[in-house]
Protein backbone atom coordinates (compact mmCIF):
# COMPACT_ATOMS: atom_id res chain seq x y z
CA UNK A 1 0.00 0.00 0.00
CA UNK A 2 1.08 3.55 -0.66
CA UNK A 3 1.11 4.57 2.97
CA UNK A 4 3.20 1.61 4.06
CA UNK A 5 5.85 2.20 1.43
CA UNK A 6 6.01 5.82 2.39
CA UNK A 7 6.48 4.78 5.97
CA UNK A 8 9.18 2.35 4.92
CA UNK A 9 11.03 5.10 3.15
CA UNK A 10 10.61 7.50 6.01
CA UNK A 11 11.58 5.21 8.85
CA UNK A 12 14.62 3.03 8.95
CA UNK A 13 12.52 -0.06 9.49
CA UNK A 14 8.96 -1.20 9.82
CA UNK A 15 9.70 -2.33 13.36
CA UNK A 16 10.58 1.17 14.44
CA UNK A 17 7.42 2.52 12.88
CA UNK A 18 5.40 -0.14 14.65
CA UNK A 19 7.09 0.78 17.92
CA UNK A 20 6.18 4.42 17.40
CA UNK A 21 2.62 3.44 16.59
CA UNK A 22 2.24 1.14 19.61
CA UNK A 23 3.56 3.66 22.12
CA UNK A 24 2.07 6.86 20.78
CA UNK A 25 -1.17 5.72 19.16
CA UNK A 26 -3.30 5.02 22.26
CA UNK A 27 -2.75 8.46 23.75
CA UNK A 28 -2.90 10.28 20.42
CA UNK A 29 -6.12 8.46 19.56
CA UNK A 30 -7.55 9.26 22.99
CA UNK A 31 -6.90 13.00 22.59
CA UNK A 32 -8.13 12.91 18.99
CA UNK A 33 -11.41 11.17 19.84
CA UNK A 34 -12.14 12.85 23.16
CA UNK A 35 -10.85 16.36 22.57
CA UNK A 36 -10.06 17.21 18.94
CA UNK A 37 -13.25 15.65 17.59
CA UNK A 38 -15.48 17.29 20.25
CA UNK A 39 -13.91 20.71 19.68
CA UNK A 40 -14.33 20.37 15.92
CA UNK A 41 -17.95 19.43 16.53
CA UNK A 42 -18.36 22.47 18.76
CA UNK A 43 -16.95 24.70 16.04
CA UNK A 44 -19.40 23.21 13.57
CA UNK A 45 -22.26 23.87 16.00
CA UNK A 46 -21.43 27.58 15.93
CA UNK A 47 -22.44 27.65 12.27
CA UNK A 48 -25.79 25.87 12.77
CA UNK A 49 -29.15 27.32 13.73
CA UNK A 50 -30.72 27.15 17.15
CA UNK A 51 -33.38 24.48 17.46
CA UNK A 52 -35.71 23.25 20.21
CA UNK A 53 -34.11 22.88 23.68
CA UNK A 54 -31.19 24.98 22.44
CA UNK A 55 -29.88 22.07 20.39
CA UNK A 56 -28.28 22.82 17.02
CA UNK A 57 -30.22 22.28 13.80
CA UNK A 58 -29.12 21.78 10.27
CA UNK A 59 -29.51 24.84 8.09
CA UNK A 60 -26.08 26.43 8.30
CA UNK A 61 -26.06 30.09 9.16
CA UNK A 62 -24.10 32.88 10.76
CA UNK A 63 -27.01 33.67 13.05
CA UNK A 64 -25.12 32.77 16.22
CA UNK A 65 -22.31 35.20 15.42
CA UNK A 66 -24.89 37.92 14.78
CA UNK A 67 -26.48 37.11 18.14
CA UNK A 68 -23.07 37.34 19.77
CA UNK A 69 -22.68 40.82 18.28
CA UNK A 70 -26.04 41.76 19.77
CA UNK A 71 -28.53 41.28 16.93
CA UNK A 72 -31.56 39.43 18.31
CA UNK A 73 -35.23 39.02 17.48
CA UNK A 74 -35.94 42.42 18.95
CA UNK A 75 -33.30 44.29 17.00
CA UNK A 76 -29.87 45.17 18.29
CA UNK A 77 -29.12 45.20 21.98
CA UNK A 78 -25.74 45.80 23.60
CA UNK A 79 -25.99 43.02 26.23
CA UNK A 80 -23.61 40.53 24.67
CA UNK A 81 -21.17 43.19 23.58
CA UNK A 82 -21.11 44.53 27.12
CA UNK A 83 -20.21 41.04 28.31
CA UNK A 84 -17.38 40.80 25.78
CA UNK A 85 -16.03 44.23 26.67
CA UNK A 86 -16.35 43.45 30.36
CA UNK A 87 -14.31 40.25 29.90
CA UNK A 88 -11.63 42.19 28.06
CA UNK A 89 -11.64 44.99 30.62
CA UNK A 90 -11.55 42.66 33.63
CA UNK A 91 -8.73 40.68 32.01
CA UNK A 92 -6.64 43.78 31.34
CA UNK A 93 -7.20 45.30 34.78
CA UNK A 94 -6.59 42.05 36.65
CA UNK A 95 -3.48 41.21 34.63
CA UNK A 96 -2.08 44.71 35.15
CA UNK A 97 -2.67 44.60 38.91
CA UNK A 98 -1.24 41.09 39.15
CA UNK A 99 1.93 42.36 37.44
CA UNK A 100 2.16 45.27 39.89
CA UNK A 101 1.87 42.94 42.90
CA UNK A 102 4.02 40.15 41.48
CA UNK A 103 7.07 42.25 40.53
CA UNK A 104 8.06 43.29 44.07
CA UNK A 105 7.17 39.85 45.44
CA UNK A 106 9.30 38.00 42.89
CA UNK A 107 12.16 40.44 43.46
CA UNK A 108 11.88 40.18 47.24
CA UNK A 109 12.07 36.39 47.12
CA UNK A 110 15.33 36.53 45.13
CA UNK A 111 16.85 38.86 47.74
CA UNK A 112 16.16 36.43 50.55
CA UNK A 113 18.48 33.66 51.64
CA UNK A 114 18.66 30.72 49.23
CA UNK A 115 17.49 28.41 52.00
CA UNK A 116 14.16 30.23 52.32
CA UNK A 117 13.39 30.77 48.64
CA UNK A 118 11.74 27.42 47.83
CA UNK A 119 9.60 27.71 50.95
CA UNK A 120 8.56 31.27 50.07
CA UNK A 121 7.60 30.18 46.56
CA UNK A 122 5.65 27.30 48.03
CA UNK A 123 3.82 29.72 50.33
CA UNK A 124 2.76 31.74 47.29
CA UNK A 125 1.63 28.68 45.35
CA UNK A 126 -0.11 26.62 48.05
CA UNK A 127 -3.40 28.60 48.09
CA UNK A 128 -3.85 27.80 44.41
CA UNK A 129 -3.73 24.09 45.23
CA UNK A 130 -7.05 24.38 46.98
CA UNK A 131 -10.11 24.12 44.83
CA UNK A 132 -11.11 27.24 42.92
CA UNK A 133 -14.67 27.03 44.18
CA UNK A 134 -13.48 26.99 47.80
CA UNK A 135 -11.10 29.91 47.30
CA UNK A 136 -13.86 31.95 45.73
CA UNK A 137 -16.21 30.93 48.53
CA UNK A 138 -13.66 32.32 50.99
CA UNK A 139 -13.85 35.69 49.29
CA UNK A 140 -17.64 35.56 49.36
CA UNK A 141 -17.40 35.19 53.14
CA UNK A 142 -14.92 38.03 53.43
CA UNK A 143 -16.73 40.53 51.24
CA UNK A 144 -20.36 39.82 52.12
CA UNK A 145 -22.45 42.64 53.64
CA UNK A 146 -21.78 43.11 57.35
CA UNK A 147 -18.24 41.73 57.34
CA UNK A 148 -15.43 43.92 58.73
CA UNK A 149 -14.04 44.60 55.24
CA UNK A 150 -17.43 45.66 53.93
CA UNK A 151 -18.13 47.88 56.95
CA UNK A 152 -14.73 49.48 56.52
CA UNK A 153 -15.39 50.23 52.85
CA UNK A 154 -18.81 51.52 53.86
CA UNK A 155 -17.37 53.92 56.46
CA UNK A 156 -15.01 55.27 53.83
CA UNK A 157 -17.99 55.87 51.59
CA UNK A 158 -16.92 53.50 48.81
CA UNK A 159 -20.17 51.57 48.83
CA UNK A 160 -23.77 52.25 49.76
CA UNK A 161 -24.86 51.13 53.26
CA UNK A 162 -25.63 47.41 53.66
CA UNK A 163 -24.61 46.63 50.10
CA UNK A 164 -21.41 44.74 50.86
CA UNK A 165 -18.40 44.50 48.60
CA UNK A 166 -19.82 41.33 47.08
CA UNK A 167 -21.50 40.84 44.64
CA UNK A 168 -19.82 43.41 42.45
CA UNK A 169 -17.40 43.69 39.58
CA UNK A 170 -14.82 44.86 42.12
CA UNK A 171 -15.16 41.48 43.83
CA UNK A 172 -14.64 39.75 40.47
CA UNK A 173 -11.43 41.73 39.83
CA UNK A 174 -10.19 40.90 43.32
CA UNK A 175 -11.01 37.23 42.80
CA UNK A 176 -9.14 37.19 39.51
CA UNK A 177 -6.05 38.82 41.07
CA UNK A 178 -6.18 36.31 43.92
CA UNK A 179 -6.54 33.39 41.56
CA UNK A 180 -3.74 34.31 39.15
CA UNK A 181 -1.07 35.91 41.35
CA UNK A 182 1.03 32.70 41.64
CA UNK A 183 1.03 32.27 37.85
CA UNK A 184 2.78 35.63 37.53
CA UNK A 185 5.12 35.30 40.50
CA UNK A 186 6.65 32.00 39.32
CA UNK A 187 7.89 33.07 35.83
CA UNK A 188 8.96 36.49 37.15
CA UNK A 189 10.91 34.80 39.93
CA UNK A 190 12.63 32.58 37.36
CA UNK A 191 13.58 35.72 35.42
CA UNK A 192 14.83 37.57 38.51
CA UNK A 193 16.92 34.60 39.55
CA UNK A 194 18.89 34.81 36.31
CA UNK A 195 19.14 38.59 36.54
CA UNK A 196 22.58 40.04 35.87
CA UNK A 197 23.07 42.30 38.90
CA UNK A 198 26.16 43.94 37.37
CA UNK A 199 23.89 45.93 35.07
CA UNK A 200 21.84 47.19 38.00
CA UNK A 201 24.99 48.12 39.91
CA UNK A 202 26.35 49.90 36.85
CA UNK A 203 23.13 51.89 36.65
CA UNK A 204 23.42 52.80 40.33
CA UNK A 205 27.08 53.78 39.93
CA UNK A 206 26.05 56.10 37.15
CA UNK A 207 23.55 57.74 39.52
CA UNK A 208 20.47 56.47 37.71
CA UNK A 209 17.27 57.08 39.67
CA UNK A 210 15.63 53.87 40.93
CA UNK A 211 12.92 54.23 38.28
CA UNK A 212 15.43 54.59 35.46
CA UNK A 213 17.56 51.77 36.86
CA UNK A 214 14.50 49.54 36.92
CA UNK A 215 13.37 50.52 33.44
CA UNK A 216 16.74 50.18 31.70
CA UNK A 217 18.53 47.51 33.73
CA UNK A 218 15.86 45.29 35.31
CA UNK A 219 12.81 45.44 33.08
CA UNK A 220 14.45 44.25 29.81
CA UNK A 221 16.02 41.33 31.64
CA UNK A 222 12.73 40.18 33.14
CA UNK A 223 10.61 40.80 30.04
CA UNK A 224 10.57 37.13 28.97
CA UNK A 225 9.27 36.07 32.38
CA UNK A 226 6.73 38.88 32.36
CA UNK A 227 5.40 37.79 28.96
CA UNK A 228 5.11 34.19 30.08
CA UNK A 229 3.21 35.37 33.13
CA UNK A 230 0.89 37.55 31.05
CA UNK A 231 -0.03 34.57 28.85
CA UNK A 232 -0.55 32.33 31.89
CA UNK A 233 -2.80 34.94 33.50
CA UNK A 234 -4.63 36.69 30.67
CA UNK A 235 -5.74 33.66 28.65
CA UNK A 236 -7.47 31.77 31.46
CA UNK A 237 -8.78 35.03 32.94
CA UNK A 238 -10.52 35.91 29.68
CA UNK A 239 -12.53 32.68 29.79
CA UNK A 240 -13.08 32.60 33.55
CA UNK A 241 -16.33 31.02 34.66
CA UNK A 242 -16.34 30.32 38.40
CA UNK A 243 -15.25 33.71 39.76
CA UNK A 244 -17.70 35.99 37.87
CA UNK A 245 -20.51 33.51 38.53
CA UNK A 246 -19.96 33.47 42.30
CA UNK A 247 -18.51 36.91 43.05
CA UNK A 248 -20.28 38.91 40.37
CA UNK A 249 -23.72 37.75 41.46
CA UNK A 250 -25.06 37.60 37.89
CA UNK A 251 -24.35 41.29 37.38
CA UNK A 252 -20.87 41.15 35.95
CA UNK A 253 -20.87 38.12 33.71
CA UNK A 254 -17.89 37.41 31.52
CA UNK A 255 -17.49 35.51 28.26
CA UNK A 256 -17.08 32.19 30.08
CA UNK A 257 -20.49 32.64 31.74
CA UNK A 258 -22.11 33.71 28.49
CA UNK A 259 -20.82 30.53 26.84
CA UNK A 260 -21.63 28.21 29.74
CA UNK A 261 -25.13 29.58 30.21
CA UNK A 262 -26.01 28.68 26.61
CA UNK A 263 -25.30 25.03 27.41
CA UNK A 264 -26.90 24.68 30.81
CA UNK A 265 -30.66 24.75 30.85
CA UNK A 266 -30.76 24.33 27.08
CA UNK A 267 -30.55 27.96 26.03
CA UNK A 268 -28.75 28.22 22.71
CA UNK A 269 -25.90 25.89 21.77
CA UNK A 270 -24.87 27.67 18.56
CA UNK A 271 -24.53 31.00 20.38
CA UNK A 272 -22.44 29.37 23.10
CA UNK A 273 -20.28 27.67 20.48
CA UNK A 274 -19.71 31.00 18.73
CA UNK A 275 -18.54 32.44 22.04
CA UNK A 276 -16.25 29.43 22.50
CA UNK A 277 -14.71 30.10 19.07
CA UNK A 278 -14.00 33.66 20.17
CA UNK A 279 -12.29 32.32 23.28
CA UNK A 280 -10.22 29.88 21.22
CA UNK A 281 -9.18 32.68 18.87
CA UNK A 282 -8.08 34.80 21.81
CA UNK A 283 -6.11 31.84 23.20
CA UNK A 284 -4.29 31.07 19.98
CA UNK A 285 -3.58 34.72 19.18
CA UNK A 286 -2.13 35.11 22.69
CA UNK A 287 0.04 32.01 22.37
CA UNK A 288 1.18 32.96 18.89
CA UNK A 289 2.07 36.52 19.90
CA UNK A 290 3.92 35.15 22.91
CA UNK A 291 5.96 32.79 20.72
CA UNK A 292 6.84 35.53 18.25
CA UNK A 293 7.94 37.99 20.90
CA UNK A 294 9.70 35.24 22.84
CA UNK A 295 11.69 34.24 19.77
CA UNK A 296 12.71 37.83 19.14
CA UNK A 297 13.87 38.18 22.74
CA UNK A 298 15.69 34.88 22.52
CA UNK A 299 15.24 32.20 25.10
CA UNK A 300 11.66 33.19 25.74
CA UNK A 301 10.38 29.96 24.28
CA UNK A 302 11.32 27.70 27.13
CA UNK A 303 9.00 29.58 29.43
CA UNK A 304 5.92 29.05 27.27
CA UNK A 305 3.90 26.88 29.64
Amino acid sequence: MATTSRLRRRYSSIREARHLLLTVAPGAAWIMVFLVLPSLYLMAVAFMTNGPYGLPQMPLSLESFKRLAGFGFLGWSPGNLYTLLRSLWQTIIATGLVVIVAYPIAYYITTCRAKWRPIMLLLVVVPSWTNQVIRTFGWMNLLAPGTPLSSFAESLGFIAPNMGLYPSSFAVTLGLIYNFLPFMVLPLYAAFEKLDLAQVEAAQDLYATPVRAFWYAVFPQTLAGLLAGVVLVAIPAFGMYVIPELLGGGKSLMLGNLVANQFSGGANWPLGAAGAILMLLATFIGLFAMRRIGKRLGGGEQVVI
Binding site: G27, F34, V45, L123, T147, A276
Partner: protein, 264 residues
Protein backbone atom coordinates in the same frame (compact mmCIF):
# COMPACT_ATOMS: atom_id res chain seq x y z
CA UNK B 1 20.75 53.30 53.77
CA UNK B 2 18.19 53.60 51.00
CA UNK B 3 18.66 49.98 50.21
CA UNK B 4 17.68 48.99 53.72
CA UNK B 5 14.47 51.02 53.58
CA UNK B 6 13.62 49.38 50.28
CA UNK B 7 14.19 45.95 51.73
CA UNK B 8 12.03 46.76 54.75
CA UNK B 9 9.21 48.07 52.55
CA UNK B 10 9.40 44.94 50.44
CA UNK B 11 9.25 42.76 53.52
CA UNK B 12 6.12 44.58 54.66
CA UNK B 13 4.60 44.10 51.22
CA UNK B 14 5.48 40.41 51.31
CA UNK B 15 3.63 39.86 54.59
CA UNK B 16 0.65 41.84 53.31
CA UNK B 17 0.52 39.65 50.21
CA UNK B 18 0.67 36.52 52.34
CA UNK B 19 -2.22 37.89 54.39
CA UNK B 20 -4.12 38.50 51.15
CA UNK B 21 -3.40 34.93 49.98
CA UNK B 22 -4.34 33.16 53.21
CA UNK B 23 -7.12 35.30 54.65
CA UNK B 24 -9.95 33.80 52.53
CA UNK B 25 -8.86 30.28 53.46
CA UNK B 26 -8.47 31.21 57.12
CA UNK B 27 -12.00 32.63 57.21
CA UNK B 28 -13.42 29.39 55.83
CA UNK B 29 -11.58 27.34 58.44
CA UNK B 30 -12.52 29.72 61.26
CA UNK B 31 -16.22 29.68 60.45
CA UNK B 32 -16.25 25.90 60.13
CA UNK B 33 -15.85 25.90 63.93
CA UNK B 34 -18.55 28.52 64.47
CA UNK B 35 -21.16 27.47 66.99
CA UNK B 36 -23.95 29.50 65.41
CA UNK B 37 -25.55 29.50 62.01
CA UNK B 38 -24.41 33.02 61.26
CA UNK B 39 -21.95 33.66 58.47
CA UNK B 40 -21.25 37.17 59.77
CA UNK B 41 -20.32 36.68 63.41
CA UNK B 42 -18.31 34.12 65.28
CA UNK B 43 -20.10 33.07 68.43
CA UNK B 44 -18.08 30.20 69.83
CA UNK B 45 -16.18 27.04 69.04
CA UNK B 46 -18.05 23.89 68.17
CA UNK B 47 -17.64 20.81 66.03
CA UNK B 48 -21.29 20.47 65.10
CA UNK B 49 -20.75 21.13 61.36
CA UNK B 50 -18.14 18.41 61.20
CA UNK B 51 -20.45 16.02 63.00
CA UNK B 52 -23.17 16.90 60.55
CA UNK B 53 -20.89 16.08 57.63
CA UNK B 54 -20.53 12.50 58.75
CA UNK B 55 -24.27 11.97 58.70
CA UNK B 56 -24.79 13.69 55.35
CA UNK B 57 -25.07 10.92 52.75
CA UNK B 58 -24.86 13.33 49.81
CA UNK B 59 -21.50 14.66 50.96
CA UNK B 60 -20.18 11.18 51.68
CA UNK B 61 -21.14 9.98 48.22
CA UNK B 62 -19.64 13.14 46.66
CA UNK B 63 -16.43 12.36 48.52
CA UNK B 64 -16.37 8.78 47.28
CA UNK B 65 -17.14 9.97 43.72
CA UNK B 66 -14.19 12.36 43.92
CA UNK B 67 -11.86 9.62 45.10
CA UNK B 68 -13.01 6.99 42.59
CA UNK B 69 -12.76 9.52 39.78
CA UNK B 70 -9.29 10.67 40.79
CA UNK B 71 -7.84 7.17 41.27
CA UNK B 72 -9.37 5.55 38.17
CA UNK B 73 -8.53 8.45 35.85
CA UNK B 74 -4.99 8.77 37.21
CA UNK B 75 -4.28 5.06 36.68
CA UNK B 76 -5.55 5.13 33.09
CA UNK B 77 -3.68 8.38 32.35
CA UNK B 78 -0.51 6.91 33.88
CA UNK B 79 -0.54 3.93 31.52
CA UNK B 80 -1.39 5.90 28.38
CA UNK B 81 0.79 8.90 29.23
CA UNK B 82 3.75 6.67 30.07
CA UNK B 83 3.56 5.00 26.66
CA UNK B 84 3.46 8.37 24.89
CA UNK B 85 6.32 9.72 26.99
CA UNK B 86 8.46 6.71 26.08
CA UNK B 87 7.46 6.92 22.39
CA UNK B 88 8.35 10.60 22.32
CA UNK B 89 11.75 9.85 23.81
CA UNK B 90 12.58 6.85 21.63
CA UNK B 91 11.59 8.68 18.45
CA UNK B 92 12.74 12.14 19.48
CA UNK B 93 14.93 12.47 16.37
CA UNK B 94 11.89 12.29 14.14
CA UNK B 95 9.58 15.12 13.28
CA UNK B 96 6.87 14.74 15.88
CA UNK B 97 5.51 18.28 15.71
CA UNK B 98 1.95 17.09 15.28
CA UNK B 99 2.26 14.96 18.40
CA UNK B 100 3.59 17.90 20.42
CA UNK B 101 0.66 20.02 19.27
CA UNK B 102 -1.74 17.23 20.22
CA UNK B 103 -0.18 16.85 23.65
CA UNK B 104 -0.20 20.57 24.41
CA UNK B 105 -3.78 20.99 23.22
CA UNK B 106 -5.46 19.81 26.46
CA UNK B 107 -3.14 22.12 28.43
CA UNK B 108 -3.76 25.30 26.44
CA UNK B 109 -7.46 24.86 25.73
CA UNK B 110 -9.54 27.07 28.06
CA UNK B 111 -11.33 24.95 30.70
CA UNK B 112 -14.73 26.09 29.65
CA UNK B 113 -14.17 25.25 25.96
CA UNK B 114 -12.76 21.88 27.01
CA UNK B 115 -15.74 21.15 29.22
CA UNK B 116 -18.52 22.19 26.87
CA UNK B 117 -16.89 20.52 23.84
CA UNK B 118 -16.91 17.22 25.67
CA UNK B 119 -20.39 17.79 27.04
CA UNK B 120 -21.81 18.62 23.60
CA UNK B 121 -20.04 15.62 22.10
CA UNK B 122 -21.17 13.18 24.82
CA UNK B 123 -24.76 14.43 24.66
CA UNK B 124 -24.98 14.01 20.89
CA UNK B 125 -23.27 10.62 20.80
CA UNK B 126 -25.56 9.53 23.62
CA UNK B 127 -28.62 10.63 21.65
CA UNK B 128 -27.51 8.64 18.63
CA UNK B 129 -26.07 5.49 20.16
CA UNK B 130 -26.94 5.44 23.86
CA UNK B 131 -23.24 5.35 24.76
CA UNK B 132 -21.57 7.87 27.06
CA UNK B 133 -24.43 8.38 29.47
CA UNK B 134 -23.29 11.45 31.48
CA UNK B 135 -21.91 10.23 34.80
CA UNK B 136 -18.70 9.00 36.36
CA UNK B 137 -17.72 7.28 33.10
CA UNK B 138 -17.76 10.44 31.02
CA UNK B 139 -15.99 12.31 33.82
CA UNK B 140 -13.22 9.70 33.87
CA UNK B 141 -12.80 10.10 30.11
CA UNK B 142 -12.58 13.89 30.39
CA UNK B 143 -10.13 13.75 33.29
CA UNK B 144 -7.86 11.25 31.56
CA UNK B 145 -7.79 13.63 28.58
CA UNK B 146 -6.33 16.49 30.59
CA UNK B 147 -4.06 14.24 32.67
CA UNK B 148 -2.34 12.46 29.76
CA UNK B 149 -0.18 15.46 28.71
CA UNK B 150 1.20 15.99 32.20
CA UNK B 151 2.12 12.32 32.64
CA UNK B 152 3.67 12.17 29.16
CA UNK B 153 5.77 15.30 29.74
CA UNK B 154 6.98 14.15 33.17
CA UNK B 155 7.94 10.69 31.87
CA UNK B 156 9.56 12.19 28.77
CA UNK B 157 11.70 14.61 30.76
CA UNK B 158 12.80 11.78 33.07
CA UNK B 159 13.95 9.76 30.05
CA UNK B 160 15.76 12.77 28.55
CA UNK B 161 17.62 13.18 31.85
CA UNK B 162 18.96 9.61 31.63
CA UNK B 163 22.24 8.58 30.07
CA UNK B 164 21.33 7.22 26.58
CA UNK B 165 24.03 4.56 26.85
CA UNK B 166 21.96 2.88 29.57
CA UNK B 167 19.47 1.83 26.90
CA UNK B 168 22.26 0.44 24.73
CA UNK B 169 23.72 -1.40 27.69
CA UNK B 170 20.38 -3.04 28.41
CA UNK B 171 20.09 -4.16 24.77
CA UNK B 172 23.73 -5.25 24.58
CA UNK B 173 23.23 -7.53 27.53
CA UNK B 174 20.56 -9.35 25.55
CA UNK B 175 17.75 -8.31 27.84
CA UNK B 176 14.41 -9.22 26.34
CA UNK B 177 11.95 -6.34 25.92
CA UNK B 178 9.95 -7.61 28.89
CA UNK B 179 13.06 -7.78 31.06
CA UNK B 180 14.14 -4.33 29.91
CA UNK B 181 10.82 -2.92 31.04
CA UNK B 182 10.77 -4.81 34.34
CA UNK B 183 14.39 -4.45 35.48
CA UNK B 184 15.48 -1.21 33.86
CA UNK B 185 12.65 1.10 32.82
CA UNK B 186 10.22 0.72 35.70
CA UNK B 187 12.87 1.13 38.42
CA UNK B 188 14.42 4.20 36.76
CA UNK B 189 11.01 5.69 36.07
CA UNK B 190 9.66 5.09 39.57
CA UNK B 191 10.13 8.64 40.92
CA UNK B 192 8.67 10.11 37.73
CA UNK B 193 5.72 7.72 37.87
CA UNK B 194 5.00 8.55 41.49
CA UNK B 195 5.07 12.30 40.88
CA UNK B 196 3.00 11.90 37.69
CA UNK B 197 0.40 9.93 39.62
CA UNK B 198 0.18 12.51 42.38
CA UNK B 199 -0.01 15.36 39.91
CA UNK B 200 -2.81 13.60 38.00
CA UNK B 201 -4.63 12.88 41.24
CA UNK B 202 -4.34 16.51 42.36
CA UNK B 203 -5.45 17.85 38.98
CA UNK B 204 -8.47 15.58 39.12
CA UNK B 205 -9.51 16.51 42.66
CA UNK B 206 -8.87 20.18 41.96
CA UNK B 207 -10.88 20.33 38.76
CA UNK B 208 -14.30 21.89 38.84
CA UNK B 209 -15.24 23.32 35.43
CA UNK B 210 -14.59 20.23 33.30
CA UNK B 211 -16.16 17.89 35.87
CA UNK B 212 -19.18 20.18 36.14
CA UNK B 213 -19.96 19.95 32.44
CA UNK B 214 -19.33 16.24 32.01
CA UNK B 215 -21.07 15.04 35.18
CA UNK B 216 -24.43 13.36 35.40
CA UNK B 217 -27.15 13.69 38.03
CA UNK B 218 -25.68 10.94 40.23
CA UNK B 219 -22.01 11.71 39.90
CA UNK B 220 -21.46 14.98 41.77
CA UNK B 221 -17.94 15.32 43.16
CA UNK B 222 -17.04 17.38 46.21
CA UNK B 223 -16.37 20.63 44.29
CA UNK B 224 -19.65 20.19 42.41
CA UNK B 225 -21.50 19.56 45.68
CA UNK B 226 -19.94 22.69 47.21
CA UNK B 227 -20.81 24.71 44.11
CA UNK B 228 -24.45 23.74 44.19
CA UNK B 229 -24.63 24.26 47.97
CA UNK B 230 -23.27 27.79 47.52
CA UNK B 231 -25.74 28.44 44.72
CA UNK B 232 -28.65 27.23 46.83
CA UNK B 233 -27.68 29.49 49.72
CA UNK B 234 -24.72 29.21 52.00
CA UNK B 235 -24.86 26.53 54.66
CA UNK B 236 -22.17 26.39 57.36
CA UNK B 237 -21.57 22.75 56.46
CA UNK B 238 -19.76 23.98 53.34
CA UNK B 239 -17.19 25.61 55.62
CA UNK B 240 -16.53 22.27 57.29
CA UNK B 241 -16.11 20.25 54.10
CA UNK B 242 -14.06 23.05 52.50
CA UNK B 243 -11.84 23.18 55.60
CA UNK B 244 -11.18 19.46 55.33
CA UNK B 245 -10.08 19.97 51.71
CA UNK B 246 -7.89 22.91 52.73
CA UNK B 247 -6.43 20.68 55.44
CA UNK B 248 -5.56 18.03 52.84
CA UNK B 249 -3.74 20.68 50.79
CA UNK B 250 -1.91 21.91 53.88
CA UNK B 251 -0.70 18.37 54.58
CA UNK B 252 0.47 18.05 50.98
CA UNK B 253 2.28 21.40 51.28
CA UNK B 254 4.09 20.39 54.47
CA UNK B 255 5.00 17.09 52.86
CA UNK B 256 6.49 18.77 49.80
CA UNK B 257 8.32 21.23 52.03
CA UNK B 258 9.95 18.30 53.84
CA UNK B 259 10.90 16.66 50.54
CA UNK B 260 12.36 20.01 49.46
CA UNK B 261 14.43 20.25 52.65
CA UNK B 262 15.87 16.79 52.19
CA UNK B 263 16.96 17.55 48.65
CA UNK B 264 18.89 20.69 49.58
Amino acid sequence: MRKRTLHRTLRGFWWLTLLFLYLPLAVVVLFSFNASNSAASFTGVSLRWYRRLLSNDVILSAFSNSMVLAVVSSVIALVIGCLIGYGMYRHRHRKLGWLIVLIYLPIVLPDIVFGISEMAFFVQVNRLTGLFQPGLGTMVIAHVTFQIPFVALIVYSRFVGLDPTLFEAATDLYATPAKRVLHFMLPTLKPALISAFFLSFTLSVDDFVISFFTSGPESATLPIYIWSAIKKGVSPEINAIASLMIGAVAIAAVFSMLVNRRQT
